[in-house]
């Protein structure tokens, strides 16, 4: 450990910087996007605000927790959507819903923290169970845990109310604001998403995040340096589960209901699709992926019918698009964007020169 510390410090000279420096470092694109998002209620109508943007931010948060595990920890976990669904269920069970015989009617400021705590615990336990395995094994085991939860919610009527789940879960009213109405909910989602994004960016540069990236790149060396690889991975699960749990609370407030389908195999896999399509290399990727996904889901029907196809085939469209992106750009849309920019930056001549020197390297 003592030997490891100075190396880490060398690897990260920017580690201890103030908030102002972080803000100053952001490029123009960041400020344009931030300003645009903040002013969105002036431009967009309620449908775009909530159905598209807020929903994309919520899904983006869940995908972000997956991206944190996969991108920084090298752990592809499919349990994140299940954690979110569990948090959503707990909010409905502890809080208020139309299913009065089950819901405990706790006030939101008790129900929500308890829900997040328990969901985080659940995600951490699932992580601890699958953390001894690697790569595809992790995918398979987390998928199996996720579907176990799906079947539990489907068949259990005393706690999870079986097939129909809970409806009538309303966002709270406090500080004189109804957080379920359009603009407040948009800002709530935006605030949570921005916070999650900032925290992930911060943690990825903090000692813990760096150690996690070390365990991703070379677990054996990290273990030799005195880092507990398994503990780091479980901690990463815990951190990611907090984000997913927050997103789950927002999700149940957005949909006003939660049912087994929320955490079914389809949505679980969709989350992986979102994270991969957006790009697993940077925290902004999942949000881009989520936006594309929500836009596709909403407008694919019209799009397909305009081209002359049956509107029902949007699943085919999503599958094909996903396949094309996975086949041609492992880094997702971010990767495509970066490659285009790179190509633009290099002139034609340098490119030609590189092709002569570098041979067939991609």
């Amino acid at each position: 450990m003592a030997l490891a510390e100075p190396r880490l410090a060398i690897a990260t000279p920017r580690q201890r910087e103030g908030l102002s420096e972080v803000i100053a470092r952001q490029g123009t694109a960041f400020w344009i996007v931030a300003a645009l998002l903040l002013m969105m209620p002036l431009i967009a109508n309620p449908f775009w605000l909530v159905q598209i943007l807020a929903y994309a931010m919520i899904l983006g948060m869940i995908a972000l927790s997956l991206m944190f595990l996969a991108g920084y920890g090298g752990i592809v976990s499919l349990i994140q959507m299940t954690v979110a669904a569990f948090a959503a269920y707990l909010v409905a069970i502890f809080g208020d819903s139309a299913i009065t015989q089950i819901s405990l009617k706790w006030p939101w400021w008790t129900a929500v923290p308890v829900a997040i705590l328990l969901a985080t615990l659940f995600g951490t336990l699932g992580g601890a169970l699958s953390v001894r395995t690697e790569g595809i094994y992790t995918i398979m085991i987390t998928l199996a845990i996720g579907s176990a939860f799906y079947y539990l919610t489907l068949q259990n009527y005393t706690i999870f109310n079986g097939f129909s789940g809970f409806n009538g879960v309303l966002p709270p009213v406090f500080l004189g604001v109804d957080w379920g109405s359009t603009v407040p909910f948009y800002y709530l989602a935006l605030g949570c998403a921005a916070l999650a994004y900032a925290v992930v960016v911060y943690v990825s540069r903090a000692p813990f995040g760096l150690a996690l990236q070390g365990t991703r790149d070379n677990p054996r060396r990290m273990a030799a340096l005195g880092f507990d690889v398994v503990a780091h991975r479980i901690a990463a699960y815990a951190f990611a589960s907090v984000i997913a749990a927050f997103a789950g609370v927002l999700l149940v407030w957005y949909q006003r209901q939660v049912s087994p389908g929320t955490g079914g195999v389809g949505p679980v896999v969709d989350m992986l699709i979102i994270a991969v399509v957006g790009g697993l290399s940077r925290p902004i990727g999942p949000f881009i992926g989520a936006l594309v996904y929500v836009l596709l889901r909403t407008f694919a029907l019209d799009l397909l019918e305009a081209v002359g196809f049956e509107g029902k085939r949007y699943q085919l469209l999503i599958g094909l698009g996903f396949l094309v992106i996975v086949l041609f750009s492992p880094d997702g849309l971010i990767g495509i964007w970066q490659r285009l920019r790179e190509r633009y930056r290099r002139g034609r001549e340098t490119q030609a020169a590189q092709m002569r020197v570098g041979g067939g390297s991609p």
Binding site: V76, L129, S130, R132, T133, G135, I136, Y137, I139, M140, I141, L143, A144, I145, S147, A148, Y151, L152, Q155, N156, Y157, V265, V269, L272, I273, V276, R313, Q315, L316, I318, G319, L320, F322, L323, V326, L327, P330
Partner: protein
């Protein structure tokens, strides 16, 4: 066998006692006290047989899955789609020709060809890239599921059982005694027994081919050290294509079998995929005996679960998986590398 007993005397004893208890439960005439604790013997026996035959079906799917994984390190998450595809193809062929065997063989050949195409067009370009292969197969499974929904609709199909296999037969197990002392024997669908026997024959044949022939030697060598095998001049790609085709064909075959004694409908692909995931995790990746063991355990757990604790039947299989993972993360029959 004696090696196993020597190394794990306690486990061997536990297994022996369990087998003896099971044999007693199957062959004995149940006393009223036992009927009170375990329910009626007919229910117990049919759960047992249904579990074993369901295990046969799971074995057919999971052995292909685990073979592909063992050799190519490729989790083919489209395996469930191959199953459903095979089932639908078999249904169509069965309708056209009226022959169950034609359906079985046709589904095997066509799905094997599809598997070959997958291997040649996709997987040989991403060798060793686990995550990418997984993602590609997820994408494929979405596409195949929608294409199947497109062409076959959302209805439930069942493959017709051939005449000589339909109907129940009498098994030599006493279910109950009539008041006049006459024994009532167990009746059980013949087709399920035939399929179980088929699965057992196939499993033994696979084990023999893998362990006693030159092709099997190549496959096992590929599982252990792919690079060394290709360095000795074996055309590894050809072995890969053959194994992939065979594994995919097995999934197609299982689709027809599943369509015969269960049913085919959209969503069945994920269900089968999940079952074979659990089977393979429990049994151990890449091991045929492991697949057999896992399939039997999962099949029995599902059937007994649905009889004795209907609400949590599906949970039971996952609980078993979790317990196995906690004790032996590499699976029951896998060799740790």
């Amino acid at each position: 066998m004696s090696d196993f007993i020597g190394r794990r005397p306690i486990w061997s004893l536990v297994i022996l006692i369990a087998i003896a208890l099971l044999a007693f439960l199957v062959f004995a005439v149940w006393t009223p006290w036992m009927e009170l604790t375990f329910g009626r013997k007919r229910v117990f026996l049919s759960a047992l047989f249904n579990g074993i035959t369901l295990g046969g079906l799971y074995f057919l799917v999971a052995s292909g899955f685990t073979l592909i994984f063992g050799l190519m390190r490729n989790v083919n998450l489209a395996h469930g789609s191959l199953y459903l595809f095979g089932g639908y193809v078999g249904y169509s062929i069965g309708n056209l020709t009226g022959s169950w065997f034609a359906a079985l063989i046709g589904a095997f050949v066509i799905v094997a060809l599809a598997g070959m195409l997958m291997q040649v067009l996709l997987f040989r370009w991403m060798e060793g890239q686990d995550l990418r292969q997984t993602l590609v197969t997820i994408g494929l499974s979405i596409i195949v599921a929608d294409l199947l929904l497109w062409s076959y609709g959302g209805d439930t199909f069942q493959v017709t059982t051939p005449d000589w296999l339909s109907g129940p037969i009498q098994l030599p197990f006493v279910v109950a005694l009539r008041s006049n002392g006459e024994a009532v024997m167990m009746m059980y669908p013949l087709v399920r027994i035939a399929i179980l026997i088929g699965a057992i024959i196939l499993g033994v044949a696979m084990w023999l081919v893998l362990n006693r022939t030159r092709i099997g030697m190549l496959v096992r060598a590929g599982v252990d050290d792919r690079d060394m095998l290709s360095a000795t001049g074996v055309r590894v790609q050809l072995v890969f294509i053959m194994v992939f085709a065979f594994g995919a064909g097995l999934a197609g075959l299982a689709g027809v079998v599943g369509g015969t004694f269960q049913s085919l409908q959209p969503g069945e692909d994920t269900k089968i995929l999940l079952s074979s995931l659990v089977v393979v995790i429990v049994g151990g990746m890449g091991s045929i005996p492991g697949a057999a063991m896992g399939a039997l355990i999962v099949g029995l757990a599902e059937q007994f679960g649905s009889v004795y604790m209907p609400t949590y039947a599906v949970m039971l299989t996952f609980v078993i998986m979790v317990v196995v993972l906690a004790i032996r993360p590499q699976g029951l029959a896998a060799v740790r590398r």
